[in-house]
Amino acid sequence: MDIIVTGFDQIFHLQNLLLMAGGLVVGIVIGAIPGLNVPLAVALALPFTYHMPPLAGLSMLIGIYKGGTHGGSISAILINVPGAPAAAATAIDGYALARQGKAGKALKLSIYASVFGEILSDIALILAAAQLAKIATTFGPAEFFALGLFALTIIGFVSGDNLIKGVIAGCLGLLMATIGMDPLESMPRMHFGFYKLTGGLHFIAMIIGLFAISEALVQIENSLRVTASRTVIEISTKGDDNRVTWEEFKIVFPTMLRSAPLGIFIGAIPGIGSSIAAFLAYGMAKNMSKEPEMFGKGAIEGVAAAESANNGVCGATFIPLLTLGIPGDVITAIMLGAFMVHGLIPGPTLFTEQGGFVSAFMIGMLITSCMHLFVALIGLRGFIQAIKLKRSLLFPLVIVLCITGTFVAGGGQFPIYVMLGMGILGYLMIKFGFPIPPLLIGFILSPMIEDGLRQALLISDGDLAIFYGRPIAMGFLLMTVALVIWITWKNFRAQRRG
């Protein structure tokens, strides 16, 4: 109880509340602009949090994450171009509604459904996290090694079409993390004579390079491409077309009630992501609807299902992150970086050592979700204008912000060179079909795996029985083997078919 009171006391500061609202605005705007995505937005904002108190900085990033996840639906509804992959399911019925002159209704419904999904997801996080963390406090090096290996199987889910390329990218990430000081013997390694590398690769520089600079370079290609300009559908002035009526709300509420838990469940499992949640919820809503033939032609349940599921993922992805220290997707991987920048290491020890902070953070997530409703409704007309922003002005500004941000966070020129190098690497990876998320996930999990393995072997005097003699470690190892076999088999079958 004391921890909850401390949490409320820590989070209820004007600065935190303003940063949450600011984060939501930035997130919705960036999410609404096709070509800009949530990982880019969070990566870009990360250095700005460097000089803020941890809770204030993380509150802002949470606002960006939640706002960005919902913001993708604005362009999906108005121009049929999802601002984020997760909004693709929203576009199916949202755009159909907009073409019928009901853009305002679709946009408002997407706000209600998103906020509903977020609130349920935050409550699930609050209820589940502490319980899971209690179990995780019993973990030793062997368990952490096994957990790290298990978490690496996420790579199989985020690798896209080519599993080999994904695994290579993951290994590259694991290898990059070994640059710097050896964690056990505190001696420099992998610096190849560049002594500035003994401090390791600057994490913020790496994230900004991989996710923001590479995307900005890819967008040069898109800006050269001759494409037909898309017309933004205007919001109708008719009352009923512009709002969700009580009758309509009664129709969509059961759909939202089914879809949000689905999003929460998928969010809590590392590696699956909000796009799949949105499409599964959309499919489920269609199957359970009394009028399935209306789906694709402007069914309000379609918009509600997709949005409540994709935002339902937001809070739940923090369950494995906060309790076990493993990121569930790219955004939580970047968020993990944000925690580490502020000297906080997510995992069971965070709950025991920083209980007040964890409590404040989770309450902050809930407040952000409530605030989301008002920010999105009040600023709706302004956010629509964001779609019209020119990329040729936006991306140069993004690049300048990346470089300035890295300078601010890194405190010198060297991290900026690292950022540029990572940006070029990220661009080449995209061009050559290598997925970037496995690289980041490998980079993050590398210390957990290496430290766990070496410490466990030191404790057991080199006896491998330490891994199969402990039930939790053994369980994780068995699950890892099973998942690796399943992913390889699935990939092999897909290759033979395709």
Partner: protein, 162 residues
């Protein structure tokens, strides 16, 4: 270049990279306790894994070279309607501008370097509306400078040349 050829060359490059790192990693560690796993064991194991997987990727690329060449031909036909210039020179130009910005920031100061960079990058991104472009290059840097220096109290580089 079709994807099979990309896989072949990327696989070959990464395979060589993995082999080089495998032999170079132990040389970067000065001296260590020979008992158990050493600081270079993990990097060596990872570079070996990269070499093996890259060899597999390279082999896959070689095996699929004909199939993907046919597919590439079909795709090229489908994309005929889209006329666009080769992006490579533009991407290289953008990277060069970023490099110049990083080097130029301490020499010319944040304001001047940022204005020039914004101007050049906007042109690379295809902006030819000169009035808007000049306004953005003139307004954005002071706004950023004010935000960082006055609001966040973080010192940005000042010109060392003048």
């Amino acid at each position: 270049m079709n994807m099979a050829r990309v896989d072949f060359f990327a696989g070959a490059f990464l395979c060589v990279f993995g082999i080089v790192i495998y032999f170079a990693a132990p040389l970067t560690v000065d001296e260590y306790n020979e008992m158990g796993l050493t600081p270079s064991s993990f990097p060596c194991a990872l570079s070996a894994a990269i070499a093996v997987l890259s060899a597999l990727l390279c082999w896959n690329g070689w095996r699929n070279r004909d199939r993907d060449a046919v597919r590439q031909g079909v795709d090229d036909g489908a994309e005929d309607g889209e006329s666009h210039a080769s992006p490579t020179p533009y991407v290289i130009a953008a990277i060069a501008v970023m490099g110049l910005y990083i080097v130029g920031m301490p020499l010319f100061g944040y304001l001047l370097a940022t204005s020039a960079t914004l101007l050049m990058l906007s042109i690379i991104y295809g902006n030819r509306r000169w009035r808007g472009l000049v306004i953005a290059a003139a307004v954005a840097p002071p706004a950023l400078f004010f935000f960082f220096q006055e609001v966040m109290i973080i010192l940005l580089p000042e010109a060392s040349l003048f």
